[in-house]
């Protein structure tokens, strides 16, 4: 089937098998390798992307649903000016280990921050990131990084917020 959608700000048209999931289209056909398959069943969050403004697990989106959609992956997010701050927080807090879960966490972090009007507390972050599993870090350092980021006003939801500027809702 033929699909056309917007990926990281660019329009893409593609012939794909209807059996494919958004995960396969992004990873295999478009070489957007940040999108990882940890389970294929919507349980681990490694394949998270921003889909029509929402954080979703791309392994659960069948090809036909992608037509006409707008998708942002880590590759798109990292082009945004606000991304440097996110990267810095993850590096400085030592929140990276094997990295397989990482793009999912970063996508969730962005989705979380854009909803926040005020700095987040730990409990809230833990709840909001519970859809992303990590087997290496024990989460503490990831939570610290996100908490730190939530203190930065320009990353939180405001019309001019850099990170959310792609992310229409």
């Amino acid at each position: 089937m033929r699909i056309s959608f917007i990926v990281n700000g660019k329009s893409v048209e593609l012939d794909v098998s209807p059996k494919k999931r958004l995960l396969d289209i992004l990873h295999d056909d478009l070489d957007l390798i940040s999108v990882k398959e940890g389970c294929g069943k919507g349980e681990c969050g490694a394949c998270a992307v921003i889909f029509n403004g929402e954080r979703v697990n791309s392994c659960l989106i069948p090809a036909f649903q992608t037509d006409g959609s707008e998708v942002i992956t880590l590759e798109g997010l990292k082009e945004l000016p606000g991304y440097a701050a996110i990267e810095r927080a993850y590096v400085e807090h030592g929140a990276v280990q094997c990295g397989f879960c990482l793009s999912g966490f970063v996508v969730s972090t962005v989705a979380f921050l854009k909803e926040k009007k005020s700095p987040a507390d730990e409990e809230e972050i833990k709840e909001k990131l519970a859809g992303n599993l990590c087997r290496c870090t024990g989460y503490t350092k990831i939570i610290e990084a996100v908490k730190d980021l939530s203190l930065q006003e320009d990353l939180r939801r405001q019309p001019e917020a850099e990170v959310s500027h792609y992310v229409k809702k």
């Binding site: 059996k19 990873h27 070489d31 957007l32 390798i33 940040s34 990882k36 398959e37 940890g38 389970c39 294929g40 069943k41 349980e43 681990c44 490694a46 880590l74 590759e75 990292k78 996110i86 990267e87 993850y90 590096v91 400085e92 807090h93 030592g94 990276v96 280990q97 094997c98 990295g99 397989f100 879960c101 990482l102 793009s103 970063v106 972050i125 833990k126 709840e127 990131l129 519970a130 859809g131 992303n132 599993l133 990590c134 087997r135 290496c136 870090t137 024990g138 989460y139 503490t140 350092k141 990831i142 939570i143 610290e144 730190d148």
Partner: protein
Amino acid sequence: MKANPNDFRVDAVGKLRAETRYIRDEKIPGLWFGAAIRSPLPRARIKSITFDKNFDWNRVTVVTAKEIANNYVAMLENDMPFLAEEIVNYAGEPVVLIAAADKETLREAGEHVKVNYEPLPYVLDMLQSENSDVKIFGERNIFKEIRIEKGNIEQARQNAFAIVELESETGFQEHLYLEPQGVVAIPEEDRVIIKGSMQCPYYIKAALDEMFGGKKHVTVIQAATGGAFGGKEDFPSLLAGHAALLAVKSGHPVAMFFDREEDVRVTTKRHPSYHKDIAYVDKNGRILGLDLTIYLDGGAYCTLSQVVLARSALTATGCYHVPHVRILAKAVATNTVPSGAFRGFGGPQAVFAIEMLIEEIAHRLNLRPDQVRRLNLIKEGQSTATGQILRYSVSAEETFTDVLERSDYVRKYNTYKKGNAPILERLLKGVYPKKNADDMLKGIGLSVSLHGAGFTGTGENRIKGKIRVEINKEGMPVIFSSQTEMGQGEETALKNILAKTLSIDRELILLTEVNTDLVPNSGPTVASRTTMVVGSLLVEAGKEIISRLTKKLNSETGKSFEYRLGYFYDGEQIISFREVAQKYAGLFVEKQYSHPPVIKFDDIRWKGDAYPVFSWAAAVAEVEVDPVTFEISVARYFTTHEIGKAINYDQAIAQIQGGSLQGIGYAIYEKVGLKNGYFDITGFTDYIIPSSADMPEMDVKILENPYPFGPFGAKGLGELPFVGAAPAVISALWMIFNYPFTRLPVMPEDLFSVVRTLKEKGA
């Protein structure tokens, strides 16, 4: 807390920008996909394999056991075939391999293969295996038996005030690295390249060299690896064999990529264990003797069970000094998926058993669990079960004292007991237990644990790990080693160690790709050995580079330069390391490891220095149990680790946080059962690992107590954080219910039945 910039990981940015390629991210032209057809039965005779004539078999490549000349995975015992030929020994055992250009064809082809089995009797229970008529390994289904004796156990028995006995058990555990297993084989004229997610490239090379009987040159390259924890230590040798067989026969590169379900169903698990332990104690709770019987379930093939068993036996007396010891340990075969390496490698099972035995001693003598522990902690100058005298870097007491103080253990123990009393009373009376909506049963538990760093016994001297450091044209030192990065921070640690030795910026140091054609065999990335063993080689290499550069410089200039913190200095001139190194590009140093000669072990009689040194930890877990739902959670977790010296403080903390949470999972979340001999799990929905919502508040502290032969005093760390977590959590459950929990994991339904038992007893 933000890390010191020196501790930032060298691999973080590449991963955060999705520039790091894991094996599924590689673009390999003409890649085919492979899969195995597996036995549905735990034991059976293969009567026939038929290929449906209605399918066009020209589209695919098929491999069966008959075609494999050396059909065994070279490991300790060579008992595991790449493909079963006559008998299958576990449900999930591979029987036929197929590869096709696309997954659809692969699936279709699989449906057209029919394997006829004649079911055979099987044994799943490790305690019945030894005397079973089902013969899986040798005459008695025993992969290995170890006996360790110290002193005279009879004497301990005669002098005992009390004899305390306990049986305990631990279950399977799945690694659940986030990246499932994946390997690609690329065939060339007379070479096969293996690339994939792995811990031990040279293990794979050894297995494939043997499989091909030397007829192919085998090159093994590690791709970025998304977690391993031991799960990618032994298993990838089997998987790489499958990929290589299909690739060579088809002439195409072939990928063996597991999806999550296949991964959890057919890959190795942590060895289940059974302990039957007897402690002889005096009236104060001092241990006079321990008589320990250990069983590990090795599954259908030996893999690494013999060495896992050794570590279990050598860790069995825990952090305690015991004058009289008798240990009998057996690793047995059953018709289950072969058990394999998993962080801790037999240690966690052993520490769980001894720590629960200590709980039972406290229970029997009416002492607080910390009192019994403190009384028996091993100290410098005392000896272990093998008679190893601990001469340096011993911190059982220091870590224990520190964690008790920081967690305020004793006060909380008493407060929580008091607070629990009315809730428990209501619960056991069958009255609704909560007076207030937030009434929770609160427990506090503790553990002390240790981990012997490096290979067990004479292992390091046998492996003789080798590294090379070479100065490149830009004057940058390049490290050649076979150590792998799997998330633990190996790349950062090795670069940091050499940078510190040379007193230069870490950015000036390069690491070669892990490729068996390029790097020497510095040994596998296992056993918490990388930092301590390979790190110590890097320190030696760095020192030699300095002395050789100094010599060359002096003989060339006729001056007497000395090396000071990154510069060569002769009173008049000061030249940077890099400038000098660039002049002597090509200079290289090789170093090979052997234990310091003072470390001696007899692995026939099990006497002497089982490990060059131990790392130490103590933990306190605060646990909450909902008295209505019996949901268990860990609210706070304190741990103090002594690892000699933290090479990277921030990432050492990170290891401890991650390992501890994995250990908490082992205690109360992660359960694998067997259904018709098959694991009853399929992925994250029915095998629960802790999420961020389940994590406790973590309070980690690191103590230093340098090991004289480690790099800057460092010992091993990777596995230790896991070891003490489960016993600390379960100790808290003993405290709440005053009931012996002797089985891992403990799930809410187990608490439910414990409460029912307690009710019946009360009634």
